[in-house]
C-alpha cells in the first residue's frame, strides 16, 4: 500500500525529532527501538516496527558519537526500513529490510558531517554578533541549529520516501563515484578542525608561562597512553602540590603536628 503524504511528513519529522532529541533532552526518540515503535504506529505495523527497531538497536548498543565523531545513522535507517516493509505489501520480509537499513545508515552519515559543517557557519555568525556586543542576536543565532540538524535528517528521509527506494541507490552511487574525494576530504578535515578551538583556548590560557605543563599532559597521553581521566587526576595532584607550595604550607609541615589528623586511636573498645 502507498504511504500518504501525511505519513511521509510524519516519518520525516520523526527523523528530525530523533537527531534533535539525541542532542537535547535525550528522552529516547534517538533510540532505534523507540523509533521503530512510533514508525510502526504511523505505518500501522507495530510488530515489524518493533522488530526492525530492536534488531538495529542491538547493532549499535553502547556505540555513541564520542568526541563528535559521526556514526552510521541507523535511526533514519529504521524509519526507511519500516516504511519499505509497509509499502512492499508483505513481499519484503523484516530481515531484508534490516539488511537494507545498514547501507542507508552509512549514506546518511555524510548528512551528519554536513550538518556539523553548516553549524560552523552559525558559529561564525554568533562570534561576529558577540564582537559587536549584540548578545541577544548571538543567542538567537543558536536556534538556527534546529534547522541544520533537523534538515540533515528530514530532507533525505522525505526524498527517499517520496521518490522511493531507487532514489536512495542512485544518490548512493553518485556520491561514492564522483563526490567521494570531497566527502573523504571533509571527514579528514573534520578530524583536524578541533585544532582551531584548541588554539583559541591556548591563546586564552597562560601558555607562554606554563607551556611545560601542557608538554607534561601531552607526554602522559602520547608516551604513556594515559586516558584523559588519568591525565586529569595527575593534573589534580600537580595542581594541589603547586597550590600548597604557593600558600606557603610547603609540602613539608614540620613533623610534630603532622600526626594530628591521623591520630585515631583504633583500639577504644
Amino acid at each position: 500500500m502507498e504511504l500518504s503524504i501525511i505519513q511521509i511528513l510524519l516519518l520525516s519529522l520523526l527523523g528530525a525529532c530523533a537527531i534533535l532529541d539525541s542532542l537535547m533532552f535525550q528522552v529516547g526518540f534517538s533510540r532505534c527501538v523507540v523509533i521503530g515503535l512510533i514508525a510502526g504506529l504511523i505505518v500501522g505495523d507495530v510488530t515489524s516496527g518493533l522488530y526492525i527497531g530492536g534488531t538495529l538497536g542491538l547493532l549499535i548498543l553502547g556505540v555513541g558519537t564520542y568526541g563528535g565523531a559521526s556514526m552510521p545513522d541507523y535511526q533514519s535507517g529504521t524509519i526507511i526500513a519500516v516504511a519499505l516493509v509497509a509499502t512492499s505489501g508483505g513481499s519484503l520480509d523484516v530481515q531484508t529490510a534490516v539488511a537494507l537499513a545498514v547501507p542507508v545508515g552509512l549514506l546518511l552519515l555524510n548528512f551528519d558531517i554536513l550538518a556539523r559543517y553548516c553549524n560552523s557557519y552559525i558559529v561564525i555568525l554568533i562570534e561576529k554578533a558577540v564582537a559587536l556586543e549584540k548578545y541577544d542576536l548571538a543567542y538567537k543565532y543558536n536556534l538556527l541549529g534546529f534547522l541544520t540538524w533537523g534538515g540533515s535528517r528530514f530532507i533525505p528521509i522525505f526524498l527517499a520516501l517520496l521518490l522511493g527506494n531507487a532514489f536512495i541507490e542512485d544518490a548512493l552511487d553518485f556520491l561514492t563515484t564522483n563526490a567521494s574525494w570531497l566527502l573523504d576530504g571533509l571527514a579528514i578535515a573534520g578530524g583536524i578542525l578541533p585544532v582551531v578551538g584548541i588554539c583559541v583556548l591556548l591563546k586564552y590560557l597562560p601558555v607562554k608561562q606554563y607551556y611545560y605543563f601542557a608538554i607534561l599532559g601531552f607526554l602522559l597521553v602520547a608516551y604513556l597512553n594515559v586516558p584523559i581521566m588519568g591525565v586529569a587526576l595527575f593534573g589534580l595532584v600537580i595542581a594541589v602540590i603547586t597550590f600548597n607550595a604557593n600558600t606557603n604550607q610547603p609540602a613539608s609541615v614540620i613533623g610534630v603536628d603532622v600526626i594530628e589528623e591521623g591520630d585515631y586511636d583504633e583500639y577504644d573498645e
Partner: protein, 269 residues
Amino acid sequence: MMNTTNNKLSEQDIRKLSIRWMALSQVSWSYNKMMAPGYFAATYPTLKKIYKDDPEGLRESINTSLIFFNSNPHTSHAILGMTIGMEEVKKQEVLETVAGLKTGLMGPFAGIGDSVFGVIIPTIMGSIAAYMAIDGNALGAILWIIANIIVIGVRMKLTLIGYNLGEKIVTMYSDILSKFTNSAMILGLIVVGGLIPTIVRANLNSEIMIGELPIDLQAMADSIMPGLIPVIFIVFGYKMLGMKNMTSTKLIFIIIILGIVLGLTNILV
C-alpha cells in the same frame, strides 16, 4: 575590592539554566568550537542577571563562556553550575579560574559521562528493550523512556550541586583566590596538553606505494615522536592565529582546504 553580590540567583534561575543547557548545549555544535556556543547560549540569560549594570564585566564573561568546550552533556551540568556559582560571588575577578576549571574538568567529565550515560545505562536498558521489541513487546522501550526522564532529573540536580560547590570554593578560597586560579590554570593546561593527541584525529597513510614497496608514513612519524602530527597542526594553528588580521573563521577554511588536499594526495587517511 570584592564587590558583594546583591542580585542573588534563585533556585528557579538554576533550574532554567539546566533546561537551557539540555536544550542548547549541542544544537550549534561545530567541529571548530564544539559546545562553546552552547555554553554561551545556556549561561547568557543568567550572566545578564549577574552583571546587571556592568557591561564590561558581561563582555569579559561572555568571552570566557565562548572558549573551546567539549564534554559529556550529562556530567557537564555540574561544570555549568560551578562556573555560574563562582561568577555570582566574585564576578570578573574569577574569570581566569573559570577558564582553567572549564578546561581542566571537561576532559575527565567527558570520560565519566560517556561511560555511565553513554555506555552503561544505554547498554543495560537498550538490551532489555531490544530483546522485548524483537518479541513484539513494547514494554522495554517504554521502560527506557521512563529511565531517561529520571536521568533528566539527575541532570537538573547536578547543576545545583555544581552551583553550590562553586559558591563554596570562591568564598572559602577568597583571600588566596589568585593562588587557586593558578592551580586551576595548571590543571587546565595539563588536560589541554593531553587533549591535543586525543581530540585531533590526523592519521598518516600507512601504505603509500613507492614502486611496489608500501611505505608506512604513520610508523615513521611515530618513530620521531608519537602524536607528532597533531602537535604540528596545533603549532601551525597557534602561529597562524598570532598573525595580523587572521581570525578563527579564516583558519577554519584554511584547515578544510588542507584536509581535502591532504586527503586527495593520499597523505592523510
